[in-house]
Point group: C2
Chain length 561, copies 2
């Protein structure tokens, strides 16, 4: 255990994931203010919203605080391999360059992702498994097995000279998982008994839901029943990393005499890693998609990516009839063994309707127990608090409604101190009363095409504006004396063709530009900025009058000899 | 009853609302092919999706079929005043110009909407109420009361020489509505006994849901309990036209000693009409929003628009703290007495989180019975079929999954013929077996700003492209001999500021344009199209190489003397 010196503090600083779902990245610091050593727990992304951030692929936390402290960062610990916990490594690890601790499954997925990632860094991975305990400066870290919706998920017990933190990561109880073991409350209880738990920093995702989540084993039983009764082909779409769920589907297929055909790159990637690590032991090998056409209709289960309606995933191609090998027809069943992530409803609906329109039976978690969340409901949170008995509760991994619900619950079960923070809020966990003591910069970075850019330098705001009201660019040339050397020409992007009376909008723009130009005296025309500004105003007004909307208007005035 | 001549047919032709939720507009035709008389039932819109149709306000059915038949259209009958049933009148009625039949509440809302609508047409409205029966050429129409989530909703019994159609409109059973009466099954049974019902054309929205919807009276009881127990202020957001729900809120407020403050233009518009028609009789007058600040916190209920997260509605302003008169604080309660329409989840979430972050308690239909749908679940549909006993069922008002579920149910309860059609599919209902006999053009029109435009002429596709990858416009001037009269200049919209190495993208564009120009011989430069094309290619490639994305690139080459 690190010694405690005067001025030492134990602080928690999330740079993402608090006040939002996604982009989990937190720091723990130990030492006096201005001279702390740090570890980073998780290194996640969030997915961009097509409306708010059009054209953006991924969103990362802005790491400038961690970059400035880079020399004092002892390690990055990944609790599990979901994208919102480890997805930023390939792009942003080079800004930190600390060793990364992760389990074999996470390391396998990272290596597989790196293959398809141009310029992927060579990240020094240190492997750990649940039960391992290791030292990083003042931090003594122990990985504790938790049940979740991906293999090898861990909570972390972080012992320091100022007390022990239990960082739960994502978890649920699940007394009977299909793969792995239930959350190790026994070990959590033992640590609580041994050192006491100063603070629990924990998952709030389902803190608004009462009760205890169903087990993965119950989902497996339900899937077996559904697949057993299905008259035709069965397609199942789920998250590629949910190997437990995929095992459940494979076991259901085997029990009902069906072969499993696998579709989708992410699915193959995840299953290759899983098989390599023995996570699919006892499961009959999956078949390639070319087998699909040869198998009798009641002898096949097609397992595919695309549960979120992603347009390039296997399911979307099947839905539009563009998939080379796979079709679904009347009498077939498609099971969404997944939850629709908010924002994806329209795309998922479109796929469901396209296939329903072809007579395919669609089953979702509204119709049957074909999916269960990997996060704890209130009954599970209460159990966690019974075992951990922390002095401080810090709800994380949730939007404000989730954090507040978690905080209420923690107070209700008798946790003496509850601190709801936010991204960039530095919480002192010890010594003294827990509370927000400082603020660090917390923002976001966009991955747009190949670039990682600051939102303000990304052009996204202009793109949103252009998507609403289009773009008009007018150019012309004047000579040095204000004479017109080349008449105005216009480029219109995203403007309706014609106004209400059938006049072409390009003519409207050119007319406005020309009459403005004519209205300016020759001497005034010598000031190119004045000309540009006058035309810009006139064009915008002319379009707005006919359309009711103001496009982005830019004017270029060339000067020629 | 119109006589039946040889060659006469009774046909049903939806131009919207079948295969989608929204934009309900259907025609019934009677007569021989090529010489039919028509009525239109409902005249609705759908709301644009911010991602698929950025900048578009509303979407209408493309009426070209009806416009061509205009002289044979005897009337437009509005079943109820929801936007997806009557919202296209102000914009598209002038293309048809038939008399419009609607109830006083619908007429009142239309008149109120017309006040804020530039160039609103003067629509000849003929008022009807449930129980009325009138004649339009070969159609003998009777309005039958149904319960729904807006006052004065009606099903239509359409008697013809070839049999009677029951067009259900939107409905639910609701044995104990807060306002109005339950769906009039007795009358439907009587018509079935009298003439038989040839075809039922009916609401499929909730055909995937088992059971029978709770009654509005149960929602009212639940609201009363919640408001009675709330310690601070209570805000309720709901659909402005749901006068029954608003009565329930007002009654709950009265029962718990609170005054009601009303916010939002749409809410005022609807309540003015409702009060005028006596639909709020017995309800204490509502207060203006200036009263909010003076009332004790446990003596007020604020009723407001914005349940869908609309950024300009009252609730959004309250959430961001921008509302002049209304604030919500810790201890206050906000009730979403509404359903989030798919596509609006993100905006609604943002509002809920903003207020939860301020300590406001949020209640939605996931937490308590604070909302119920106005559409029939399977148990209700089965009851309808018991009374109507139609020979043909035509599911409408739903996406494919809903239509299919409705069709399955109709078959299951023994309807002999079930026809699932789609927008533009003309279904012959009689004589002979029902089925699709013809296809009419069915498409969509966009209301974009002030204009009503065809999708292809709207610029929306380009705007979507621009929102993804931005716009670059390059202009320059050449003299007649291929000499450079003005160097290239560039306008970049929505492009990141810099590439990975910190080079300005504007420089990247200009460099690409200049080096392309230099690489072209003077004679080749005399062909302006060649110059433009070469620069366009080079600029696109240069940006794509650094960014990984290809913007829209346009090049203007001026020619000067």
């Amino acid at each position: 255990m690190a010694k405690r010196r005067t001025g030492d503090e134990l602080v928690f600083l999330p740079l993402g994931g608090v006040g939002e779902i996604g982009m989990n990245l937190s720091l723990y610091g130990f030492g006096p203010d201005g001279n702390r050593q740090w570890i980073i727990v998780d290194f996640g992304i969030t997915f961009a919203n097509e409306f708010d951030e059009p054209g953006v692929d991924l969103i990362f936390p802005d790491l400038r605080f961690a970059e400035a402290e880079r020399k004092s960062i002892l390690g990055i610990i990944i609790t599990h391999a979901h994208e919102d916990h480890f997805g930023a490594l390939l792009d942003l690890w080079p800004r930190i360059k600390a060793p990364v601790y992760m389990t074999p499954f996470a390391a396998g997925l990272l290596a597989a992702k790196a293959e398809g990632h141009a310029g992927a860094p060579d990240i020094p991975v240190k492997s750990y498994k649940a039960g391992d305990r290791w030292r990083l400066g003042p931090f003594d870290i122990e990985a504790i097995n938790v049940a979740h919706s991906i293999p090898e998920s861990n909570a972390l017990a972080i012992r320091t000279g100022l007390g022990t933190v239990l960082h739960t990561g994502d978890w649920k109880i699940d007394a009977t998982p299909v793969l792995g073991h239930p959350t190790d409350f026994e070990r959590i209880g033992a640590i609580a008994a041994e050192t006491g738990i100063r603070a629990l920093v924990g998952d709030s995702t389902n803190a608004v839901r009462e009760g205890i989540s169903p087990s993965e084993r119950e989902v497996a039983a339900s899937l077996t029943e559904i697949i057993g009764q299905a008259p035709g082909r069965v397609a199942v779409t789920t998250f590629a990393s949910n190997v437990g769920r995929i095992r459940a589907v494979a076991e259901a297929a085997a029990a009902t005499g069906r072969d499993v055909v696998v579709l989708g790159r992410a699915m193959h990637r995840s299953l290759d890693v899983a098989r390599e690590l023995g996570l699919l032991d006892g499961i009959k090998p999956f078949l390639g998609e070319d087998a699909y056409g040869y198998l009798p209709r009641d002898k096949v289960v097609a397992l595919m990516t695309g549960s979120q309606g992603e347009p390039r995933a296997a399911l979307a191609k099947v839905a539009t009839g563009e998939h080379r090998n796979i079709t679904l027809a009347p009498g077939d069943t498609l099971i969404f063994s997944s939850r629709t992530i908010p924002g994806n409803e329209k795309s998922v609906n479109a796929i469901q309707n396209a296939l329903a329109g072809k007579g395919v039976r669609i089953l979702t978690d509204r119709d049957a127990l074909v999916h269960v969340s990997g996060h704890p409901r209130r009954g599970e949170l209460a159990r966690m608090y019974e075992y951990a008995r922390p002095e401080v509760a810090v709800p994380v991994h949730g939007e404000a409604v989730h954090l507040n619900a978690h905080a209420d619950l923690a107070r209700h079960v008798g946790v003496p101190e509850v601190v709801v923070g936010g991204n960039g809020k530095m919480i002192r966990l010890a010594p003294g009363p827990a509370g927000i003591v400082d603020e660090a910069f917390a923002g976001r970075l966009f991955k747009d095409g190949r670039l990682v850019v600051l939102p303000d330098a990304s052009g996204v705001k202009e793109r949103r504006k252009a998507s609403f009201a289009g773009v008009v660019v007018v150019s012309l040339a004047l000579d040095g004396k204000g004479g017109i050397a080349a008449d105005p020409e216009a480029v219109l992007i995203g403007i309706p063709d014609e106004d209400q009376r059938g006049e072409d909008f390009e003519d409207v723009v050119i007319d406005a530009a020309e009459s403005t130009l004519e209205g300016l005296s020759r001497p005034r025309r010598r000031d190119l900025d004045t000309v540009a500004e006058a035309i810009k105003k006139a064009v915008r007004a002319a379009v707005a009058e006919r359309w009711g909307k103001k496009p982005i208007v830019e004017v270029v005035v060339h000067e020629v000899d």
